[in-house]
Amino acid sequence: MSAIGISKESIKTIMQNEQTTPTPTAVKAAAQPAAARMAPSKRPSARSLKLRSFFEWLLPPVFGVLAMIAVWTLISYQSPNLPGPVSTWHSAVELFSDPFYNNSPNDQGIGWNILASLERVGLGFGLAALVGIPLGFIIGRFQFMSRMAAPIIGILRPVSPLAWLPIGLLVFKAANPAAIWVIFISAIWPMIINTAVGVSKVPQDYMNVAKVLNLSEWKIVTKILFPFVLPYMMTGVRLSIGVAWLVIVAAEMLTGGVGIGFWVWDEWNNLNVEHIIIAIFVVGIVGLLLELALTSLARRFSYE
């Protein structure tokens, strides 16, 4: 998760650098004496500058991907069991040409598997939001509740999500709800904590306004707390969905059924390593898309 964040930050700084690099050139061009200005053909036009900065922006990530493929190719030459990019690509084309077939409960297209996993994540995550966000508000708002919740959160949060699976199986007596339960319990903490932190950070000035205006608790929540906390909440939501997506693969490996995690396990049993590599990419790309979607959603909700 944080790795994604860091790499995105660095991409952003790279982008900014790329955007600022043309400026000195432009300044220099403008500052050059009349002699230089008389030969306008030498000066790059605005359009070509734009094009150049676009390529400068695009090249590093492309190089990154190419480097990854190169390393992968090298390793696959060394170890004969690991399929290389080419055979994986062929396998992927075949796989994605029919993503929604349905032969039997244990033999379904990759599309169904992805959707099944997304559904579990959506359910577990949605329940976690439904419980976690109001809980975060209560904990952030009332000192007593915060003190009360501190030991519970402190003890339960560091527990590995999969440690909750047996409890889920025991209580629900079925694999699917148990997997959703694991998602729920691992996705709830970032939402509780970020919401509570947001509430506790509401500036005293705003609370003084509320006091002077004698606002009702309902107005305080809707007009002051909620708008202020929204960006914090969205951070929690983003972290949560990241965790949920991380956990789902492992949970499904253990519970079975339809889902990308179980699919990986199944392909391992079939010794279809190409498919495992494809699954890794699919999981990564879906996770990235979720992250991007929520980031843009969060940006929309920020009042700044």
Binding site: N208, V209, K211, V212, P227, Y303, E304
Partner: protein, 268 residues
């Protein structure tokens, strides 16, 4: 109908304020006594950190004194209330609401129970127009200048039709020109509304120009009232005429003497 002006409209009696912090106790105010006449404009002046805001927050009801009593209109001040509106130092507008929504929030709270939505909207608009911001009513606070924000803060306070208006360094963060402009406007508004006002300031000219009386505070800890200066200048006051006025300049130097001779603050 003749209205009887209450001599002791707001009253502070032997007010002590001690803060209990992690680092120990801090006695901010000791034995503060003064009263404010109805309709009077009072300034509280003193060096930074002496306890001006604390006095204002006590009157606002945002703080409770450790000792002593505060009254407003004959009743003990038990907590904050809309009859004592506050204009905060840093405007404290809610950034996610437009200017008029910020004002509406206050209007709704005070008059919502007795008036229709249309009337509430009218009040909001009137308050925004009063401070000359009709053109910016639908803008968010971060889209307008500091001076405009402070005006919205004043509009929000005035829209509540308070008995007492409390202002904490309302123009402290503004440039000199904007500040002068807003001071003139505030004077005009106060003349119209006739409500009682307490303003915290550290600007000597502002204090003399706006006030009927200036409450001068000694330095903390255990700050108290050093002196109270009557400002007997006829209203309406014009800043340009006053600049040449000998009485104005005398009052000004009285305050300066208090601040820089009798209670000079050691350089930090």
């Amino acid at each position: 109908m003749e209205k009887i002006v209450q001599e002791k409209y707001v009253q502070l009696e032997n007010v002590n304020m001690t803060f209990f912090t992690k680092k120990g106790t801090f006695e901010a105010l000791k034995n503060v006594n003064f009263s404010i006449r109805e309709g009077e404009f009072i300034s509280i002046i003193g060096h930074s950190g002496c306890g001006k805001s604390t006095v204002l927050n006590l009157i606002a009801g945002l703080l409770q004194p450790t000792d002593g009593n505060l009254f407003c209109a004959g009743r003990e001040i038990a907590g904050p209330g809309p009859e004592r509106a506050v204009v905060f130092q840093n405007h404290s507008l809610l950034p996610w609401l437009t200017c008029s929504e910020n004002v509406y929030l206050a209007v709704e709270r005070v008059f919502g129970a007795t008036e229709t939505k249309v009337q509430l909207k009218k009040r909001t608009q009137a308050a925004i127009e009063l401070v000359g911001l009709a053109h910016a009513a639908d803008k968010r606070p971060n889209e307008i200048s500091g001076g405009m924000k402070q005006r919205v803060g004043i509009a929000r306070a005035l829209a509540m039709e308070p008995k007492v208006l409390l202002l904490d360094e309302p123009f402290g963060a503004l440039d000199a020109l904007t500040r002068a402009h807003l001071q003139d406007e505030l004077m005009a508004i106060m003349a119209k509304s006739g409500c009682t006002a307490v303003m915290v300031t550290h600007d000597v000219d502002e204090a003399v120009l706006l006030s009927d009386r200036i409450v001068m505070m000694t330095n903390g800890p255990a700050a108290t009232i050093g002196d109270i200066l009557d400002v007997e200048l006829a209203r309406p006051r014009k800043r340009l005429e006053l600049a040449e006025d000998s009485h104005y300049n005398h009052l000004r130097s009285e305050v300066l003497k208090f601040l820089y001779e009798r209670h000079a603050k050691k350089a930090a």
